[in-house]
Point group: C2
Chain length 325, copies 2
């Protein structure tokens, strides 16, 4: 990411953090405040609120409440992480102990509920009915995505269609809503809304595909996390799904065998699995898919004047493909 | 409860159930549908949506979307029960297995999130900004109430003030919001809103106080649940708090001793504890408190014409005091 873009994002992320700090100062319970602080201020790139902000700035000067409205999407993201970590009994996130490790489930589930409610309250106060509809719809899609993922896991459905349906719900829906809300509050047209919805959806999908790829290709020294985790967990990520469908028969058989084996077997077999994914073209096919999603995302921005916001959104899209962690 | 009132409530509750059935038909995941069905349609008296409906009908004919908007409050109530039961590892509710007993935590937490989001979405679609503000504020109060309860348990705070502060958040806030939303959507005045807020708050507080009393006074054959559960759990309910503050010294000492003992000790001592609460006047004082709350609630209705809705709300308030289960 180039330095100017990085600086711009950093400055705006700090302003969004300030809006959230001010908003959460009204929390009464010390423990709730502590859990919320842990959930929101220990990390995170503020991608979703930044997308609200720069989408709005494509067509209008920022309104005074823009950052408050933008923070809605960080609240919703944080709420989903809090509840996900409870559900998954996760103990680490961003290299730090999860909230459910530090406290028990009660304050963590409740803090998630608080953020959900507060997010909807802020949209009610600053966004109007159409924004509310978009936010409500995004949460609905996120929950349906989680349930679809459970069903797919149970039925061992290994189709790309299901992979993308889950991804649309779990990841892309909220990002697309963030982008579209930015346009709605700036008073954009239907075509402009559709453009940013596509931009956000594609950005979300491509981001996850690259995440999938980094787990097979990444350099642990750079990503800060070991490669091979997804494979060890038997997680159905895009490169693996493509390989299962397109690798030569011997390779496919071996992948299938490992998937029914124990995690330790998969950990031991990871090097061989990487090779099968590389030689089958599954890694390249995944990257090509992410690239074409990003190309389409950037093309939607042609609808807008070439201002700073458009440059930022273009830069962010490019970064999704080049990031190494 | 007299038969006419019972019939009226039953008819309207069925209409609210039909609105919820229609609304939840859009859920895609079969498992999510199952969890939601379990959370909503296996029981419950629909008190909160009925309060929305009859509050609105105090001053205006029911609008076509009234039941849909009313069901928001059943969704929020059901969401809080789902999350509470996860948090408390509860295995029974209304005599049936809880959702978290039938499934694991993941679908149950997510189903609660779905209901929260759907509730806010329905308010957005049918209620307008002021209703949204009220709903958001009620959820915030519910979460703060839960955190206050945790803190009070930790600090062994045994004040009536804390008892009522918790009750305001956990129980009364949502009921008061239901009543006030009814007035808002019917286009009521500020004074009418305040009246129904008081009505709802007092109804919620009195309902819980009677619940507390039934655990010391109730007849297990009628209530369908054993008495003495609250005492066995060491739960700080109003009769116990009053007795701890006002019983003669010997009685207070024994109560304090039992509260630091094991649950089995409290179970064995329940008969004696009942006696201390009765002779100290704590049971009567609690009942008097509930009665005065209900008297005030009914008095607020004098602001309205004496129509059927007012008769229903008056009857409901009376029922809070006479119910035996």
């Amino acid at each position: 990411m180039d330095q100017t873009l990085r600086d711009t994002l950093k400055t705006e992320a700090a302003a969004i953090d300030a809006a959230m700090q001010a908003d959460l100062a009204m929390v009464e319970s010390p423990l709730l405040r502590e859990v919320l602080h842990h959930a929101i201020f220990l990390g995170g790139k503020r991608i979703r609120p930044l997308l609200v902000r720069f989408s709005a700035c494509l067509i209008a000067a920022p309104s005074p409440c823009l950052n408050t409205l933008a923070s809605v999407f960080e609240y919703l993201h944080a709420a989903s992480l809090l509840h996900d970590d409870v559900v998954d009994h996760a103990d680490l996130r961003r290299g730090k102990a999860t909230a459910n490790q530090l406290w028990n489930n009660a304050p963590v589930i409740l803090a998630g509920d608080y953020l959900l409610a507060r997010a909807m309250g802020l949209v009610a106060a600053h966004g109007g009915a159409e924004c509310q509809r978009l936010v409500g719809e995004a949460i609905r899609a996120m929950v349906e995505g989680e349930f679809l993922q459970m069903r797919v896991a149970e039925t061992q459905d290994r189709s790309e269609a299901s992979y993308f349906a889950i991804l649309h719900g779990k990841t892309a829906a909220l990002i697309a809503a963030a982008c579209e809300v930015g346009i709605v509050i700036a008073g954009g047209t239907t075509a402009q809304r559709q453009a940013l919805r596509t931009y956000g959806t594609n950005l979300g999908l491509a981001f996850q595909i690259i995440d999938d790829l980094l787990d097979y290709e990444g350099d642990p020294a750079e990503t800060g996390k070991a490669v091979g985790n997804d494979f060890q967990e038997g997680k159905m990520t895009l490169p693996l799904l493509i390989a299962l469908a397109t690798a030569e028969e011997a390779g496919r058989d071996r992948l299938r065998g490992w998937l029914t084996a124990r995690p330790e077997t998969r950990r031991a077999a990871f090097g061989e699995a990487q090779q099968i994914l590389a030689t089958s073209g599954a890694l390249q096919a995944s990257r090509t898919k992410a690239e074409s999603l990003i190309t389409e995302a950037v093309a939607t921005l042609n609808l807008f004047p070439d201002n700073k916001a458009r440059q930022v959104l273009t830069g962010l899209a490019g970064y999704v493909l080049t990031r190494t962690k």
